[in-house]
């Protein structure tokens, strides 16, 4: 059975902005999906409908058999613990240490008082330390996050998502603020996680070349509508034009040819 089922998903902001227009697709466990589209297409909104950071206007989203649109309170929080999220701007608490930020990923599993006081079990701490080490951050474990580089911060963001022991990671432009080296490390890390742990990954990217290289399935969005859903190899030039509009499409194809050569 599909892990994520999106059915006729529509999202309006206020009365007028139609951010997502009747989107339907399924994601099987273990997939690595790249979501591409120009800025303002609705990529971020799509991810936020899956973990219900925004309310859904109509249609259905089912994750792991649970219908998301009507979830509230504790049930919604329990659902969110199973989905990790990674952000363009990392969204760490800069004043806290790496391990404190990583352990935030456990809050959804804890009672209010334990969460408030930051009382984590030894097992949770061991798990966090192991993940921090596996991402090459053991030397930074007790550093404050405002002392880290962008690439390191994003790895802390990934670690925070992983301690949730999620079934799926939602990544919203994870490399948009990084230099090419750091970007490659992050994409390789996500790819590794997907391959070794089988965690399903949905990643928003505005760089088509990166999406084509890493994703094994591409979803193209333009103005809230799904305009492509399939393998990266079958993504034709016309379809890139369709996703990005003609002028941007030219530029992207140009890059693609140079990259292929």
């Amino acid at each position: 059975m599909a892990l994520l089922q999106v059915e006729a998903l529509t999202k309006r902001y206020g009365g007028e902005t139609l951010a997502l227009d009747n989107i339907t697709f399924d994601v099987e466990p273990g997939e690595f999906v790249g979501i591409i589209g120009p800025s303002g297409a609705g990529k971020s909104t799509l991810l936020r409908c899956v973990n219900r950071l925004v309310d859904i206007s109509s249609g259905d989203v089912r994750f792991d058999g649970v219908s998301v649109p009507t979830l509230r309170g504790a049930a919604l929080r329990r659902q969110r613990t199973r989905i990790g999220m990674i952000f363009q701007h990392y969204n760490l608490v800069n004043r806290l240490s790496v391990i404190e930020n990583v352990l935030h990923g456990r809050l959804g599993y804890k009672g209010t008082i334990q969460g408030i006081l930051g009382l984590y079990t030894e097992e949770e701490k061991r798990d966090a330390a192991r993940i921090i080490e596996s991402l090459g951050l053991s030397e930074q474990m007790y550093k404050r996050c405002d002392q880290l580089s962008g690439g390191q911060k994003q790895r802390v963001g990934i670690a925070r998502a992983l301690v949730q022991q999620p079934k799926m990671l939602l990544c919203d432009e994870p490399i948009a603020s990084l230099d090419p080296n750091a970007a490659k490390i992050i994409m390789d890390t996500l790819s590794d996680i997907n391959r070794t742990t089988g965690i399903t990954i949905l990643v928003n990217l505005h760089q088509v070349d990166v999406a084509l290289r890493y994703a094994r399935r591409i979803i193209g969005i333009n103005r809230g509508r799904l305009v492509y859903d399939g393998e990266p190899e079958r993504l034709s030039n016309e379809q890139i034009y369709q996703i990005y509009g003609s002028e941007a499409g030219d530029l992207i194809l140009d890059l693609r040819e140079r990259y292929a050569a």
């Binding site: 800069n94 935030h104 959804g108 949730q164």
Partner: protein
């Protein structure tokens, strides 16, 4: 190459409504000041004598301080009573303001609630502390209890505004990240909002303590709240002893400097670390 001669002078400051009204206000105030000087009634005052007297008094006050009616120990005790009044009302105010400040922050609470609390605290702040003390004195009588309640009231109003604005400074993405991981509201507050705004909260609390300390002196002199303010009131109004008043002034000054030093040290420890 020579630049072409500019046709018109280039204005650096745009001629906006705000700039115009600032200029109008300044000109108005200047005219008022000049006018008020011309209307002073100075018939019975010998200017030379008055200036000499004033410097004489300053000399007594600042250069020849000494205690007479109270001992040093007594003075220190009264100073701590006053500081205690300032500290107590700051702490009470801070505790109330922490919780109401969360509910007054637009990124943490629904709009109707923040509007209600902001409206209420704006009213509390608009009325001066002294009036709140007198207001509560109606029900509990003039004295330290009225001073504590009134000062707490105004401190809370002040700190709710300051705290809630500090809470609103947090990056929205950080709140979103914790919500996305399944954390609830209280967990998000204590794991993200409080650590991110701790040093701002601390500075505001210190600023308020300094205000409350000086208010506490005034309350001792006028509202029967005791402390060094009452001794100063006695020295200046009852014994007419400027030298003793000078000693009290220096004691307060020393205490205020010590306070400032402590605040700076504390903030340095909490502020952003350098490599």
């Amino acid at each position: 190459m020579t630049l072409p001669e500019p046709a018109r002078r280039i204005r650096v400051r745009p001629l906006t409504r705000a700039n115009l009204s600032i200029q109008a206000t300044l000109i108005g105030l200047t005219l008022l000041t000049v006018y008020s000087f011309t209307t002073f009634d100075s018939r019975n005052i010998e200017l030379e004598q008055a200036v000499r007297d004033m410097f004489d008094n300053f000399r007594l006050l600042l250069l020849e301080p000494r205690l007479k009616n109270v001992s040093v120990l007594e003075m220190l005790h009264q100073l701590f009573v006053t500081a205690g009044l300032g500290l107590l009302t700051t702490i009470f105010g801070a505790i109330i303001a922490f919780f109401l400040g969360l509910l007054a922050a637009q990124n943490l609470a629904p709009r109707w609630l923040t509007d209600v609390i902001r409206g209420g605290t704006a009213f509390i702040r608009a009325v001066p502390t002294v009036l709140w003390v007198l207001f509560f004195a109606v029900s509990v009588g003039l004295g330290s209890v009225a001073a504590i309640i009134g000062m707490t009231f105004h401190s809370a109003g002040y700190l709710i505004k300051a705290y809630s604005e500090s809470f609103e400074e947090i990056e929205p993405g950080v709140l979103e990240a914790l919500r996305a991981s399944g954390a609830n509201w209280w967990q998000t507050i204590f794991q993200a909002v409080v650590p991110a705004s701790a040093s701002a909260l601390l500075s505001w609390t210190f600023v308020r303590f300094e205000i409350n300390f000086s208010t506490a002196i005034a309350m001792g002199a006028t509202a029967g709240a005791g402390g060094i303010g009452f001794d100063m009131f006695m020295a200046s109004g009852f014994y007419l002893d400027l030298r003793e008043l000078g000693a009290f002034t220096y004691a307060i000054l020393a205490f205020a400097i010590a306070l400032e030093w402590g605040a700076t040290r504390l903030k340095a420890n909490l502020g952003p670390q350098r490599h």
